[in-house]
C-alpha cells in the first residue's frame, strides 16, 4: 500500500514545486512585548494605582473637593464652594518610576512623592502588578508656630497591589503607613490604614469606581473616607467626578481619615489630569 502511494506523492510534490514559488521565509517569534497595563489612570480618587506614566511624559492635575454638602442650601451641590484645591505636576523618569510635586490649599500642604512599579505578571484570569509609593508633605500654613517647625512635616509609604479581571473589573488594595498623622498633636501620631478600591470599565471611555480607606491602627479623624464616582477617559485626559465624605486631596491629609460621615454629609469632588509631552 505504502509503495503504491509513494510515486503518487512524488508526482504531487514535484507538481507543487513547479506550480508556485518555494518561499523560504518564515515568521520569527514576535519580539515586541507590550507592558502589562491594568488600571487606565494613575490613581482612582485619592489612592494610587500601580500604573505609571511612560518615560519622559508629564501629567498635570487639577482637583477640587467642595466643602459644602451636596444637599446644602444655596450652594449648587457644593460647587459654590469653598473648596480644597490641588494642583500637581508629575513626571516619569523611567517607564517604571514617576515623581509628583503637588500643592493643596488645605494647610497649604506641599507634597512630593515617588511611585515605582516593582513587579507585574500577566495571567488570563488574575494578572497582577505591584508598585510602591513614598512621599513627604510640608504644611506651610500653620497656626501658632513657625512654618519651618519639623512638626509640620509628614511622611507616608504605600504598597499597591492591582489586578484586572476580564479587562473589566479592576481591584486594588493599598496598605499605607502615615507618620505624624496629626501635625498639632503633642505626641507624634502615626497610622496604619488599608486603602481599597474597585473600578468597573463599562466602555472604552467610561468607568465607575468606589474607594475607601480603613484605619487599622493609630490616629484617625472621625470617619473612614468613602468615595463613589465616574471616570471619563479621552485620549490624554481623565475626568473624574465623585461624591465622598473626605475634603482632602494630599496623601498625608486624606490618609488620616475624614471629618464627616458618608451619607449624612457627602461632598462633590473632581480630578482632571492631562498628559503632556514635549
Amino acid at each position: 500500500m505504502v509503495i503504491k502511494i509513494f510515486p503518487l506523492l512524488i508526482i504531487l510534490a514535484v507538481s507543487t514545486l513547479y506550480g508556485q514559488p518555494d518561499i523560504n521565509w518564515e515568521r520569527e517569534q514576535p519580539t515586541a512585548k507590550t507592558a502589562l497595563h491594568l488600571f487606565h489612570s494613575k490613581q482612582v480618587v485619592n489612592f494610587p494605582t500601580s500604573e505609571t506614566l511612560k518615560s519622559g511624559e508629564f501629567e498635570y492635575e487639577i482637583s477640587h473637593r467642595f466643602l459644602p454638602a451636596i444637599d446644602g442650601e444655596n450652594v449648587m451641590f457644593g460647587i459654590d464652594g469653598p473648596a480644597h484645591i490641588r494642583m500637581a505636576l508629575a513626571y516619569a523618569i523611567t517607564d517604571r518610576m514617576m515623581i509628583n510635586l503637588g500643592r493643596s490649599n488645605a494647610s497649604d500642604n506641599i507634597d512630593l512623592r515617588v511611585k515605582y512599579r516593582l513587579w507585574e505578571k500577566d495571567h488570563s484570569l488574575l494578572p497582577l502588578s505591584v508598585a510602591a509609593r513614598a512621599g513627604g508633605a510640608w504644611s506651610t500654613e500653620v497656626i501658632n508656630r513657625d512654618k519651618s517647625d519639623s512638626k509640620n512635616i509628614q511622611y507616608y509609604g504605600q504598597a499597591i497591589f492591582n489586578t484586572l479581571i476580564k479587562k473589566k473589573v479592576g481591584i486594588g488594595v493599598v496598605p499605607s503607613y502615615l507618620y505624624n498623622s496629626h501635625i498639632y498633636c503633642q505626641e507624634t501620631q502615626d497610622s496604619f490604614t488599608l486603602g481599597s478600591y474597585i473600578q468597573v470599565y463599562l466602555t472604552s471611555m467610561l468607568s465607575i469606581y468606589a474607594e475607601t480607606n480603613t484605619t487599622i491602627s493609630g490616629w484617625r479623624q472621625y470617619h473612614n473616607p468613602v468615595s463613589l464616582g465616574i471616570e471619563l477617559e479621552t485620549g490624554g485626559h481623565f475626568f473624574k467626578i465623585f461624591v465622598g465624605n473626605s475634603s482632602h486631596l494630599n496623601p498625608s491629609q486624606y490618609l488620616a481619615g475624614a471629618d464627616k460621615k458618608f451619607g449624612s454629609y457627602t461632598r462633590l469632588g473632581f480630578n482632571i489630569t492631562r498628559i503632556l509631552t514635549f
Binding site: 510534490a13 514535484v14 514559488p21 514576535p30 515586541a32 507590550t34 511612560k54
Partner: protein
Amino acid sequence: MRSIILSLILALVPVLHLAAEEFHVDKDRDNKVKFISDAPIEEFEGVTDYIDGYVYYEGGDLTNSSALYFEVDLNSIDTGIGLRNRHMRENYLETDKKNYRFTHYNGKIIEATPSGEGTYDVVTEGNLFIHGQTNKVQIRGTMHQENSHYHIHAEFEVKLSDYKIKIPSVMFYKIDENMQLILDFYVKEHQE
C-alpha cells in the same frame, strides 16, 4: 529503486530554482514603518521598526513569478504617548483578537520601470489585511538595489473605514480618517 527516484528529484530541485531570487527583510538595517494622522488640530504619528517578510522573483526580472509578503506587528507601534498606544491597541486596532496583531500585505509586483541606476518604480497588487478586513489594493513604491540588498520605499493612504476601524468622535485627540503610511526598509538576499 525508491531512493534513486528520490535522489533524482532532490537533485532536480536546485535546477528548478536556479534563477529564483528571494529577499528577506534585513532586521539589522534601519527599517521604518510610520503612519501619520494629519487631523486639522493635531498631527501625530506612530512608528515601528517591526516589519518582516519577503520579495520573490525569478530570472532577474522583478515581475517574473513575483510574490511578496510583508507584515507589521501592530503591538510595536509607538505614538509617543503611552496611553494613546494603549488606546490604539486595545480600542481601535484590537490587537488581542485572533490574527489582528499583524497587519500584512500579500501580493506581487505587476510593473517595474527602471528610473535610475539600480532603481525601479514598482507597482504592486495584492491583499492588505488590517483589523480583520482584507482589501485588494495597488501600492506603488521604489526599489533601489545596493549589492545584495534592496532599499524599498512606499507611501500610500489607508482609509480607516475601509478596515472597520472606528474612532469615537468625542476622543480629545483628533484622528484623520485617512492615515498616511510611509514604509522605508531593506531586504537582503536570502542564502540557503
